[in-house]
């Protein structure tokens, strides 16, 4: 291509000859760094996992991992597998259920603890005693307590989200500047008005943070709960098992690349649900966005 052709953008080749083309594709510095890091990790993974072929003997740890290309092949097969999508569906369903219950119970509970000293005195010690028990330690007890396996999984997920949301709500309410409340009172606001117009919006950002962290916890918990309980109501059939059981089942069945597919799927699910919540909360808290 001649200089003249580059200088005069004409025809469909011209835009590509412009100097801005590369930089616009390369986004900003941080995006470029992220892309480079991911590509480097993939190369490292590919080289390491195929070490048996080019080294004669597998490298420790990474040599036993399925290679990225085998994972990709497994994934492209699984994309047309209804069982895989049903696993997604079941886990998403359970997370949604447990998380919704955790939010619906955790926000009022946290607000009650924050705004009522008597309730705080009665409920908070119990809460703090139970909180250090990891949700997964509840799995056996939960299976005994609850009539169905599905309910026991939902309960364990609920616990995973509940503590996080409550703590954030309590912390958020405590962080509200007392002078805002004094101001509102001097302008004639009643207790109910202060709760509705000050405490609630004041706590909203903390509820958002709590929900965002909690949804991550619930994805951790659902996977482990599904593995331990053997896949909930679906039993051994992969259809009702969810992504946790999908991973476990792939391990038992020796389909190692599928394990990685399951792991990445959970990563994606967790990321998407966090992003969804972040966006929802940002919409409800416009004053933070514009500040």
């Amino acid at each position: 291509m001649t200089n003249a052709a580059a200088a005069q953008p004409s025809g469909d080749l011209a835009p590509r000859a412009q100097p801005g083309w590369l930089s616009s594709l390369a986004f900003d510095v941080s995006t470029r760094r992220a892309v480079i890091a991911i590509v480097a990790a993939l190369i490292f993974w590919q080289v390491g996992s195929t070490s048996r072929a080019w080294l004669g003997a597998p490298l420790p740890v990474i040599g036993a991992v399925p290679s990225p290309d085998s994972v990709l092949r497994a994934w492209s097969r699984l994309l047309f597998d209804t069982g895989y999508w049903q696993s997604w569906m079941w886990s998403t369903f359970r997370v949604t259920l447990g998380f919704a219950a955790a939010t619906l119970a955790g926000v009022p509970f946290g607000l009650a603890i924050a705004s009522n000293p008597t309730f705080r005195g009665a409920a908070f010690p119990v809460f703090e005693l139970l909180r250090p028990i990891p949700p997964l330690a509840w799995v056996p007890a939960s299976i005994i307590f609850w009539p169905t396996q599905e309910l026991s999984i939902a309960f364990v997920i609920f616990l995973g989200g509940f503590y996080t949301i409550v703590l954030n709500v309590v912390g958020g309410a405590a962080a509200i500047d007392v002078r805002l409340i004094q101001s509102a009172r001097s302008m004639g606001a009643s207790r109910a008005t202060i709760f509705r117009r000050l405490i609630l919006p004041g706590v909203l950002p903390s509820i958002g943070v709590g929900m965002e962290v909690a949804i991550g916890v619930t994805w951790e918990v659902v996977v482990a709960a599904e593995m331990i309980s053997g896949g909930g109501s679906g039993g051994a059939a992969s259809s009702g098992g969810g992504l946790g059981f999908f991973i476990w089942n792939s391990y038992v069945g020796g389909a190692y690349p599928d394990i990685i597919v399951g792991m990445i799927s959970i990563g994606i699910a967790g990321y998407l649900s966090s992003a969804l919540i972040r966006r929802g909360v940002a919409r409800l808290t416009p004053w933070l966005r514009r500040a």
């Binding site: 001097s186 606001a189 117009r197 500040a291």
Partner: protein
């Protein structure tokens, strides 16, 4: 002096008589305010200066009703706010506080903030309250900021919004607790002129706590120098510089003379409080 401005105001006279306030600090009683008496006529701008932690804010909180007193009485236009048998004043929209770091509601737009009082008191409908808020904001030079959030404004503008938010309730007294402390010198001088303008329009009584002597002399009809803890008026200075004042009075000989006089009294107390190791506050 200042008669044309003050005559119109018949509301907002504060009488502080023999007020005592004792704090319990880790079991040991600390006397914050000791037999403090001060009479503020309706429509006066009364500036309170004194060392940090001397108990000025304690006095303001007692007037506002944020906490009680242990002796004496405070009246507003003859009615007892707090006194014997009634340690804590009720909090009311006749006395509104503007704090040092501001207390605008971050999640409400500036207009919603200003309209808050009349709406929650139900003295005006939502629509009327917003209209009034819009008008008052325009008067205060805050037109164009109605739909912004407080976080989008400079702290100087935020303080102005907050004063308008107080004024919409037609208070008898404005209680200002170092509202301009965090501002730079230029914003501060603009705030001062804006506050005086507000006062020329409304004649509201202003109880103003500050550390800044120039601010005190520029704004006040009187400057009350407080003793270091326990707090009581040490000396009251009448500022005989006529209103309306403009910023060039700062360089006038009378202003410098007053500044030197008040500074001598305040510094003496500050040294005492420094020697005692009083905490900032």
């Amino acid at each position: 002096m200042n008669a044309p401005f003050r005559q119109a105001r018949t509301r907002g006279a504060i009488e502080i008589s023999d007020v005592v306030k004792v704090y319990d600090v880790g079991g040991a009683p600390v006397q914050a305010v000791d037999h403090c008496s001060l009479s503020i006529p309706a429509g006066e701008i009364c500036m309170i200066v004194g060392p940090s932690g001397c108990g000025k804010t304690t006095l303001l909180n007692a007037i506002a009703g944020f906490h009680g007193i242990d002796g004496g009485a405070i009246t507003l236009d003859g009615a007892v706010l707090c006194g014997p048998g009634r340690p804590t004043a009720s909090i009311g929209s006749d006395r509104i506080v503007v704090f040092q770091n501001g207390a605008l509601f971050p999640w409400k737009t500036n207009l919603e903030n200003v309209a808050f009082g009349p709406i929650v008191q139900k003295t005006l409908g939502k629509k009327e309250a917003r209209e009034k808020a819009r008008a008052l904001m325009a008067d205060a030079g805050l037109g164009g900021y109605e739909n912004k959030y407080p976080g989008e404004l400079s702290s100087g503008l935020q303080r102005r919004v907050e004063i308008v938010r107080a004024l919409i309730n037609d208070p008898a007294v404005l209680l200002l607790d170092e509202p301009y402390r965090a501002l730079d010198a230029l914003s501060k001088s603009m705030m001062h002129e804006a506050l005086l303008e507000t006062w020329y329009r409304t004649g509201v009584t202003i109880f103003f706590i500050t550390h800044d002597l120039e601010e005190a002399i520029f704004l006040g009809h009187r400057v009350v120098a407080m003793t270091s803890r326990p707090c009581r008026p040490k000396k009251i200075f009448t500022i005989d510089i006529p209103h309306p004042r403009r910023y060039d009075v700062l360089t006038s000989p009378r202003f410098r003379e007053l500044a030197a006089e008040i500074s001598a009294v305040v510094d003496e107390e500050a040294m005492k409080s420094f020697a005692l190791g009083e905490k900032e506050g």
